[in-house]
Structure formats: structure tokens, C-alpha cells
């Protein structure tokens, strides 16, 4: 495609240069006029000649359309997922502590190898539970409900992903 374009341009340039040189060499006279018009015809011919071949021709676009894929830096994302898991665990423990329940262990489990941070399950260990004065409930079932609500709204997960162990 590109070589044919360059040959087209070169032939236009060539025919114009030849016509100029011929004009220089030829003596003045009545014949000059005819030669000029012949060369004008030739220039038009050279410009138009490759155009009919374009009709119905299939171009090779493969050189232009080359698909590229960007690969994400997965090491970084993995490390960040680990950080996020740790931070979320700490935040949840803090939040539960703030609501009046101490010594609760929260374990967030997620697929660190996926690029986005998706929580698979949250395990809450209530075996060492200490109920502080500011706590609203003392009944274990009510406590579970409150903690569940807290976790669901904070970590933005579905209720079935939160598991309790007493």
C-alpha cells in the first residue's frame, strides 16, 4: 500500500522534472506549444492512472490495527490486597470495640490474587468476648445481630458471608 503510494508520487515528480528539462533544451518555436500540452496530458495521466486500481481493492490493515493489551502490575495489587485485608480487620475490631465488645477476633478472607478487592468471607470469633459497660446488649444473640449489622454496613458485604464462632 505504502510502496505504491510512494511510486505514484515519484512518477508525478519524475514526469514534471522531465517536462521542465525538455522545455529547457528545446529551442524556441511553434513546436514548443504542442510539447507543453503533451506533457500536461502526461502529468494528468500519471496522476489519474493508479486511481481505477483502487476500486474494489482490498487493503491490508493489519499493520495499522495491532491490538495491544496492557498488563496490570499484579505484584503491587497482591501486596495492596494484603494491606487492605489487614487494615479492614483492624478497622472492624476497632468498630466492634467502640460499640462495647472487647476481645473479638475478626478474620477477613479474600482472594488476594484477584486484581480487585473482593471479600469472600468474614469470620468473627466470639469465644473470648468481653462485654463492656457501654454495650447495648448482653444477650449473645442480640450481640451477634449488632455486630453483624456493623460489619455488613462497614465492609459492604452480604450477610451470608459473615460467619460467627462462639
Amino acid at each position: 500500500m505504502f510502496s505504491s503510494v510512494s511510486s505514484w508520487i515519484l512518477s508525478i515528480a519524475g514526469i514534471v522534472i522531465i517536462s521542465v528539462i525538455v522545455e529547457l533544451i528545446l529551442p524556441e518555436g511553434s513546436i514548443n506549444k504542442y510539447i507543453r500540452s503533451i506533457f500536461s496530458f502526461l502529468v494528468v495521466f500519471v496522476i489519474v492512472a493508479p486511481l481505477p486500481a483502487l476500486v474494489g481493492k482490498k487493503f491490508d490493515y493489519s499493520q495499522i490495527i495491532s491490538q495491544e493489551e496492557f498488563t496490570l502490575q499484579e505484584d503491587y495489587l497482591f501486596q495492596l490486597n494484603v494491606y487492605k485485608t489487614e487494615a479492614l480487620q483492624e478497622d472492624l475490631v476497632n468498630a466492634i470495640n467502640e460499640a462495647g465488645y472487647d476481645n473479638v477476633q475478626v478474620n477477613v478472607s479474600c482472594n488476594n490474587y484477584s486484581t480487585s478487592f473482593v471479600i469472600e468471607a468474614i469470620y468473627v470469633e466470639l469465644s473470648n468476648l468481653v462485654i463492656m459497660d457501654k454495650a447495648e446488649h448482653t444477650n449473645i444473640i442480640d450481640i451477634e445481630k449488632e455486630i453483624l449489622k456493623l460489619i455488613v454496613s462497614y465492609a459492604n458485604v452480604e450477610e451470608r458471608k459473615v460467619h460467627f464462632e462462639r
Binding site: 505504502f2 503510494v5 510512494s6 508520487i9 508525478i12 515528480a13 514534471v16 522534472i17 517536462s19 521542465v20 522545455e23 529547457l24 524556441e28 507543453r36 506533457f39 500536461s40 502529468v43 496522476i47 499493520q63 495499522i64 490495527i65 495491532s66 491490538q67 495491544e68 493489551e69 496492557f70 498488563t71 496490570l72 502490575q73 505484584d75 503491587y76 495489587l77 501486596q79 495492596l80 494491606y83 487492605k84 487494615a87 479492614l88 483492624e90 478497622d91 476497632n94 468498630a95 467502640e98 460499640a99 486484581t115 480487585s116 478487592f117 449489622k149 456493623l150 454496613s153 462497614y154 459492604n156
Partner: protein, 402 residues
């Protein structure tokens, strides 16, 4: 021409605030956490940013920076990571005077470079014009044509040494912009994923692939040859009075402008509309997660949303800073070629103006057509970097925490 000027101005306007505002990127975050213990959270944020930067692989960008002399000047001989950290910390505007100095140096160097060329060409063509006027009138026209032929040949050889240099300059700069895109885009996408902008990633990934392969290929494989074609035709067209190819040249010019215009409009339209929509969706999903807890426990909400959101906040700071530093790298790469091309174009226009009254009319028209052609080269560089800037700016704007 007017279109390109307008484009250039828009580009500069877009580039400056994008870079300058990056200096203030960290202020909104610090005000959010101002309600709680300010200094400890700042420390925590710094710690988190340092941790994350340690995990990020920036080696490709460091290599590009080291290869480019002008960019390292603009970076004040800092490494990419150092500049990134200083942008995150907000000390960016300090070295604006050194940037201005670098620009002025480039401009004066360029003018001095082209001065001998202008002088020689003007001298040759005026000499040719004088001989043309003073030659004995022997009734032979062909002597005049021979003189024109010779003068024209000398002018062509002189100008084409520079034109070829400009073409290699443009194609090298295009390649360098492409390699920068290939280095910056994966990192930006990674950061966008880290912040949680999954919808944005699905929009920007194809847009970036399109820009860095398809569009850059069109510019190097179709538009650059079109420039060469119109230059060759301009050369041939002014050889003699008989064969004029001006209309063919104007066809090539408008073909060029339409291709650039269509690519530009379609790409920018799609990227910005889709990108802004996706960014809004991601921003919403990040915010709902953030405000859910606040509505549930209003008193302690701001305390709880620390740890996890500090991670997200530092990721989004790094994302924006990488965008800003990438744009700075781009500015360092394209500044000198674009200035050089603009100066060469203006020099050609000046030459045409000087030659026209005294010398040969055909040489003047060749030089002025060539100066119109040079604006095509400028528009190639400006258009590609504009699209790159816009895409980076969109990524910086989308999926932000606040």
C-alpha cells in the same frame, strides 16, 4: 492553520492546570481527616504511601526519563520516584522559574540555529533574482529558466537538510510518546484498579490500547507520509510555470486535516463521555461504602473509617501524582520538538516574506507552501500529546475518593 493554533492553545491551557493543580492534590484529603488527630493520620498516610510506592514498579519510566535530556532538565535532575514523592507532598511549583528558563533557552537556541540558513537562502534567491533582471536580453527565454533552475536547486538542497531533520525529529518524538504511553498506562490502570474503579478500568483499558497502538500507527504510517507527499508535490509544483499542482497539494492538506479531525473528535468524544460516566459510577460506589457506616453510627463514623480508607486515599494520591508526573515527562519530551518546529515554520514564513519582493516568485511560493506543510508536522505532535494528556487527565479525575 487557525484550527491548529486553536488546538495548540487549548492543549497548553489543558496541560498547565493539570500539572499545576497536582501540587494541591493532597490538601482535600488532609482537611477531611482534620476532625480527628491530624498529625498521626498524616503520618499514617505518609507511611502507607511509602509502603505502596515500594511495591510499585517504575523502572520503565525511570529509563525513559534517563534517555531524555530535556525531560531530565525539566525534572531538575531528580529521578521519577523522587519527583513523584515531591508532587505527592505538594512541593511542585518551586522550580517554575527553571522551567521558564529552559523554554527561553530552547527558543533562542532554535532561532540561532536557523539564522545562517535564512541568511544563505535569502542571499541565494536574491542573487538569482538580480541575475534574472540584469541578464542581457538575447531574446532567449531559456536562460532565465536555467537560472531559476539552478537557484531553486540550491534553495531546495539547503532547506531539505533541515526538513529531513524535522521529519526524523517528529517521528522520534512520536516513538518516544508511544513508549511513554506504554509505560504509564499500565501503571495508571493498576492504580485505578487499586482505588476500586473497576468500571473505569473497563472503559479506559480499550481506550488506552486504541490510542497507543491504532491511533499512533495512523499518525506514523499514514499522516507522516502524507506530509512527505505534500512536501514533494510542493517542490515539483514550483519547478516550472507550466505544471502547477497546487490543487493536488490542497487536496492532500484537507485529507490530512479531515483524518486528524475525525480521529480527534471521535476519540475524545467517546473517551470523555464514557470515562466521565464510569468515573461517576465508581465514585458513587466508593462513597456509598464510605458513608454507610457514618449513617449507622454517626458519632464514631469518622474514627472508624481510618485504616482502610487511608490505604485507598494514598492509592488515589499516588494515581494522581503518577498522572501528573507522566504529563511532566510528556511536556519535557514534546516541548523542544514543538518549539523547534514552530520556529522553523516561522523562519520559513519570514524567508518567503523577504524573498517575495526582490527575488523569484516561485521560490517564495515554494517556501510559503513548505511553511504550511510544517504546520502539519506540528499538528501531528500536538494532536497525539493532546489525546494522551486528556486521557491521563480523565484517569486522574475518575474514581477519586472525595
Amino acid at each position: 492553520m487557525r484550527k491548529i493554533k486553536v488546538l495548540f492553545i487549548i492543549f497548553i491551557l489543558l496541560l498547565t492546570p493539570a500539572i499545576l493543580t497536582s501540587a494541591f492534590l493532597n490538601t482535600p484529603n488532609s482537611t477531611t481527616y482534620a476532625t480527628t488527630d491530624d498529625s498521626s493520620i498524616q503520618e499514617e498516610l505518609d507511611q502507607s504511601i511509602n509502603d505502596q510506592l515500594g511495591d510499585l514498579d517504575l523502572s520503565e519510566l525511570e529509563e525513559i526519563l534517563q534517555d531524555s535530556e530535556n525531560a531530565s532538565k525539566l525534572f531538575g535532575d531528580m529521578s521519577f520516584l523522587d519527583k513523584l514523592v515531591s508532587i505527592i507532598n505538594g512541593d511542585f511549583a518551586d522550580d517554575s522559574s527553571s522551567v521558564l528558563e529552559a523554554i527561553f533557552n530552547l527558543v533562542f537556541d532554535g532561532i540561532l540555529n536557523f539564522l545562517p540558513l535564512i541568511a544563505t537562502i535569502v542571499a541565494v534567491s536574491i542573487l538569482g533574482g538580480m541575475i534574472q533582471n540584469l541578464k542581457p536580453n538575447l531574446g532567449k527565454k531559456s536562460i532565465g529558466s536555467v537560472i531559476h533552475f539552478v537557484t531553486y536547486g540550491v534553495v531546495i538542497i539547503l532547506i531539505f537538510t533541515i526538513v529531513m531533520r524535522m521529519i526524523t525529529l517528529t517521528s522520534n518524538t512520536l516513538n518516544s510518546i508511544k513508549s511513554q504511553m506504554d509505560a504509564v498506562f499500565p501503571i495508571l490502570l493498576t492504580m485505578l484498579t487499586a482505588v476500586g474503579g473497576s468500571v473505569s478500568v473497563s472503559v479506559y483499558q480499550p481506550a488506552m490500547a486504541l490510542l497507543s497502538s491504532f491511533i499512533v500507527n495512523i499518525f506514523t504510517l499514514i499522516l507522516l507520509p502524507l506530509f512527505l507527499i505534500s512536501t514533494v508535490l510542493a517542490l515539483v509544483s514550483n519547478l516550472s510555470n507550466n505544471v502547477k499542482l497546487d490543487k493536488l497539494i490542497s487536496f492532500i492538506h484537507s485529507l490530512f486535516k479531515w483524518i486528524v479531525g475525525i480521529i480527534f473528535t471521535v476519540f475524545i468524544g467517546f473517551a470523555s463521555i464514557q470515562g466521565i460516566t464510569a468515573g461517576a459510577i465508581d465514585g458513587l460506589s466508593i462513597k456509598t461504602a464510605k458513608f454507610a457506616i457514618k449513617s449507622y453510627v454517626p458519632l464514631i463514623g469518622s474514627y472508624i473509617s481510618d485504616g482502610f480508607y487511608i490505604l485507598l486515599a494514598s492509592s488515589s494520591l499516588i494515581k494522581n501524582a503518577i498522572g501528573a508526573t507522566g504529563l511532566l515527562l510528556l511536556a519535557g519530551t514534546i516541548l523542544s520538538p514543538i518549539l523547534e518546529l514552530v520556529i522553523f515554520m516561522l523562519a520559513l514564513k519570514l524567508m518567503a516574506g523577504i524573498i517575495e519582493p526582490l527575488g523569484d516568485g516561485k521560490i517564495a511560493s515554494f517556501v510559503s507552501t513548505l511553511s504550511k506543510n510544517m504546520s502539519l508536522l506540528i499538528s501531528i505532535l500536538v494532536a497525539v500529546s493532546f489525546m494522551y494528556t486528556l486521557l491521563t487527565g480523565l484517569v486522574m479525575c475518575s474514581a477519586n475518593l472525595l
